[in-house]
């Protein structure tokens, strides 16, 4: 691997990202599975970096998952998106940042479609007016939340309490980055670093002291596949694709996986559990599996937040071995506490994958 070659490509895919005043929309999946990550994003931007990030209670799903599962037609999803843009316009913002990769891809695609087919945009405007009496402007800048964290990665590194470095050996942690398919595969120029060697997460990892591991199947989809996961009958597809990725990354012995997609961290985490329970195979060291994180979780760890406030206890693959490597302190007894220190019964132990 010739690193300079990748640097050259990264230099060609730099995306303009404004530094402040963002209209923020949430992700259905992330808030369900990783609510603390979204909280951490706002915490870092608002409190750590003092940025203006606005969120309105009236915003809804973009409809992306329903659209990609063919539960709603294209016109519907476009009109829902138009409504989101209208909320932004009404709030007086021009920079739109979304937490979800599916949304990000869909917004990008919709805006491209409208640009190419103005009559389509006109139709959607009409639809929106009829349904809600709202009007909208398309965002001037569209970013995914990870773009912003990437943008401020060095500022975060400056405030870092911990680094992605093995405390004992002093070596950088080996990090696998997994980019959501809809981040840049459809429009490579819209993603930091392009589609082939995306830099958005790699930049964070490097900035925070880790080492990115390129393995052969790094570009492969996690296998969510919308309906392929949502319908139980199809889940073999989802599982098999994740399995393929793990088989490919295994020889590279990664310490952790960092993702910027809503579903991917959930699938990469949970399918390890399923593979272990079905076949007995685990991919990490000592039977633990490879821990999977959202970029906000990693940022939170680096900045010194309590792992249990970051929601790492909701991962099925144990995070403690990694915390130990990084030297992040944690109280095992606090892991499964509820609100206000309420003690909750801990989850059961799986059979084949080790948990703490």
């Amino acid at each position: 691997m010739i690193y300079q070659g990748k640097q050259k490509i990264w230099s060609e895919y730099q995306k303009e990202i404004p530094t402040d005043h963002w209209f923020y929309v949430r992700s259905c999946i992330r808030q369900t599975f990783f609510p603390a990550s979204e909280k951490m994003f706002l915490e870092i931007l608002r409190n750590r970096l003092g940025k203006d990030v606005y969120e309105t209670p009236s915003h809804t799903t973009c409809g992306g998952i329903a659209y990609h599962s063919e539960a709603i037609p294209q016109e519907t999803v476009m009109t829902i998106i138009a409504r989101q843009f209208a909320l932004m316009t009404e709030a007086g913002y021009e920079n739109y940042v979304c937490s979800c990769i599916t949304s990000f891809g869909l917004y990008t695609e919709v805006m491209e479609d409208w640009r190419e087919f103005p009559e389509l945009e006109a139709k959607i405007r009409e639809n929106l007016w009829k349904a809600t009496k709202r009007e909208f402007k398309t965002p001037k800048y569209l970013a995914h939340a990870s773009d912003l964290v990437y943008k401020f990665r060095n500022e975060i590194a400056e405030q870092a309490k911990f680094r992605l470095v093995n405390r004992e050996t002093g070596r950088p942690l080996r990090v696998v980055e997994h980019i959501g398919c809809h981040y840049a595969k459809m429009f490579p120029s819209k993603g930091v670093g392009g589609a082939e060697y995306p830099y958005v997460l790699a930049g964070m990892v490097e900035s925070w002291g880790g080492e990115v591991v390129d393995y052969p199947e790094r570009r492969h989809c996690c296998g969510f596949g919308f309906r392929q996961y949502l319908v139980k009958a199809n889940r073999g597809y989802s599982l098999s694709n994740t399995h393929k990725k793990f088989e490919s990354m295994e020889p590279f012995k990664p310490d952790m996986i960092i993702t910027n997609c809503p579903g991917c961290p959930y699938f990469l985490d949970r399918w390890q559990y399923v593979i272990a329970e079905q076949t007995g195979k685990t991919y990490g060291e000592n039977g633990y599996g490879i821990p999977v994180f959202t970029y906000e979780e990693v940022a939170g760890l680096v900045l010194g937040y309590d792992p249990w406030d970051l929601g790492l206890q909701t991962h099925q693959v144990a995070v403690e071995p990694l915390l130990d490597k990084m030297g992040v302190p944690y109280k095992p007894e606090d892991k499964y506490k509820g609100l206000n220190g309420k003690r909750l019964q801990r989850p059961e132990f799986p059979m084949n994958i080790k948990c703490c």
Binding site: T32, T61, H68, A71, Y237
Partner: protein, 233 residues
């Protein structure tokens, strides 16, 4: 030059996604579905490009168009700036519009899918919602997931989510006016009509298959035949 093709060609996703395919196979080469299903996106694009209505009709009625995971990896690679993934999406939409989806096992999954997704969007404003995400339907949610479900309020509260609460934040209760707007959008843009088509066609199909709607929906959600997989394995 058939009617089905004409209808397809009205779809912006076909206009965007199918310029002129040269059958180079870059899409199939990296397609996650092509590896695990009896599926080849290049072939589908070829069929649509052929404008052969009989073949397109067969596609609309077949399982083949439902294998794609819409990851859009194919879009990156195509040397002709086509998007096989979008072609699939357009085919699926047409299959629903014309009611052909009930002819295939994978197509029949529309009923449970739409119930779940349209239901979530209209009731809560989200595609996925913890209260409707059942552990029984999702055993892979894991033992941690089971624990999370059991202590749903504590866990979400501790992690800073505002499950069912008023005001901004994760999993907040979306104001009723907003939900009403979504419903209006659904009515105007065809989502409601889709639900009607799917329910009606599914009902007919269930009757034809001699199943109650509950059985039909449960079967659609869980049944998978071996014919979807590659024969050599």
């Amino acid at each position: 030059m058939g009617k089905l093709y004409d209808r397809l060609s009205q779809d912006y996703r076909i206009r965007e996604g199918l310029k002129a395919c040269i059958s180079c196979g870059t899409c199939t080469a990296i397609c996650p579905a092509a590896e695990f299903y009896r599926y080849n996106p290049k072939k589908i694009v070829s069929i649509v490009q052929s404008r052969d209505d009989d073949a397109i009709l067969e596609l609309l009625k077949s399982d083949v168009i439902w294998y794609c995971g819409e990851c859009m990896s194919c879009v990156t690679r195509c040397p002709r700036k086509n998007a096989p993934g979008l072609v699939i999406v357009a085919l699926r939409a047409l299959s629903i519009e014309l009611g052909y989806f009930v002819e295939s096992e994978k197509g029949r999954q529309q009923l449970p899918l739409m119930h779940a997704l349209q239901g979530n969007v209209l009731n809560y404003g989200y595609c996925v919602y913890p209260l409707t995400f059942a552990y029984e339907m999702h055993p892979e949610y894991g033992l941690v997931g089971k624990w999370q479900k059991e202590h749903i309020e504590d866990v979400y509260e501790r992690l800073g989510a505002h499950l069912g609460q008023v005001g901004p934040g994760a999993l907040r209760k979306i104001p009723q006016e907003s939900l009403d707007e979504l419903k209006a959008i659904f009515d105007i843009t065809g989502a409601t009509r889709w639900m009607e088509i799917v329910e009606e066609k599914s009902r007919e199909k269930a009757a034809e298959m001699g199943l109650t709607m509950e059985e039909y929906e449960a079967q659609a959600f869980t049944k998978t035949s071996s014919c979807h997989l590659n024969p050599e394995n």
